[in-house]
Amino acid sequence: MKTLSTAHLTGIAGLERSDVQLLLDTAAEFKEVLNRPIRKVPSLRDLTVANLFFENSTRTRLSFELAEKRLSADVVNFSASGSSVSKGETLVDTVNNILAMKVDMVVMRHPHPGAARFLAERIPNTPVINAGDGTHEHPTQALLDAYSLREKLGDLAGRKIAIVGDIRHSRVAISNILCLQLLGAQVRVCGPRTLVPRHIGTLGVEVSHDLDDTLKWSDAVNMLRIQLERQGGEGRVPYFPSLREYAREFGVDRERLERLDRVPWILHPGPINRGVEVTSEVADGPWSVILDQVENGVAVRMAVLYLLAPVRP
């Protein structure tokens, strides 16, 4: 019987290769559960999980909530809008109040990088799962991407995976790079110079600004969302001149794929800006893993919750 080397999942950083493998292997068993006539097991029926979302999210929150319910846990949801956070309550106070109501595990999304780790250090006996902390990490997204890639490609050791788009603002990019490297894959990042951090190479990734070359190189490409809300507001210089120009240089369309001898798998963490990162033909085409990612997300999150669940006294 194996176990994780950590009591919290604050990021991929700090995980061992064996942790990732255990998580992905366990997720495979939960994926089978999700395809049973009754998609529910009683493993966590005596636990209560709090989903604390200090930042908007649709799919991640829904995915976590489904994962919790499929494991028979009780679920409480919290979102920052309409709460005491707007009255000035601190994060630790908010969480301690929730824990005082006997919550056993916490899933948290927060706009500040490091928030999950900050919390995990202050409530060591309650497992904390990071559902995205600012531009820092989004570990369950990286795990479900790795799981989806493993389904398509088998062992990822030596495989070539590219991450394309807005690397600068992306927590998905960092978690993905670390996770794929743990599994032995070669990682390349590709995007406009303004959206690729200057020192990203120190993470041991290749850097490219040429999408066609990157598509040729890759076994799979993960197309990150252009975060329109972070492209510079009033009085700031935008990171690229126009969406049309971005799409022409860094968007994947059918013509680009047809020029290739071998088409890579296309991933996208969603929500898709259709016609920007990928065209509809690509998103809905036979190369797309996008809906597999969503399905696998629930199984991967079930594995995370199951493996981190506290021992019952």
Binding site: M1, K2, T3, E29, R36, P37, P42, S43, Y306
Partner: protein, 177 residues
């Protein structure tokens, strides 16, 4: 050694005959609990089909890890096994198969897991070894390979030729690491 390879084979043979005495297997499925019960179910499945002249008999393998009542009593999470139930048991008769019946908790979890695949018309329990006197739940088998009276500290180990080179049941003085 409680059961040697010769007797082991006779027990499987006898239980297969007992099953076809009561079932014609037109509406009966065999479901083994992972991992060891599934192995026993495979053996029985082969023998039953031989006895019935090659008739198709459905065989399922059920993993009960997520249904156990002690799933979070352990310091480490329990590792699941592959679950392979390619059919529904709605309205069917089910032979639930496990290697050793001890406290009855695995079988209880097995019943729970089985119900995710429909409402069976009936469920019967077949075990290779019945360690009576240690039951913690009111569960009794219909078909028993052999009965063992043992101390709680002892451990009944079923060996399979696929793994150790021989089919046997062995009584150990303590649970192996």
């Amino acid at each position: 050694m409680l059961v040697d390879p010769v007797r082991f084979e006779r027990i499987i043979d006898r239980m297969a005959h007992q099953l076809i005495e009561h079932h014609d297997f037109t509406d009966t499925d065999v479901v083994g609990l992972q991992p060891q019960g599934a192995r026993l179910a495979e053996r029985l499945h082969v023998r039953i089909r031989e006895l019935l002249g090659g008739q198709t008999v459905r065989l399922g393998k059920l993993d009960v890890t997520f249904h156990r009542d002690d799933v979070r009593k352990h310091e480490r999470p329990l590792s699941p096994q592959t679950n392979d139930m390619p059919f529904l048991v709605e309205g069917r008769r089910v032979i639930l198969v496990d290697d050793v019946l001890y406290t009855g908790r695995s079988v209880r979890a097995g019943l729970d897991a089985l119900l995710a695949y429909g409402r069976p018309r009936s469920v019967e329990l077949l075990v290779l070894v019945d360690r009576r006197f240690h039951r913690e739940l009111p569960i009794e088998p219909q078909y028993v390979g052999t009965t063992v009276d043992s101390l709680d500290a002892q451990y009944v180990s079923v060996e399979w030729s696929e793994e150790t080179g021989r089919d046997a049941v062995v009584l150990l003085q303590s649970k192996p690491e």
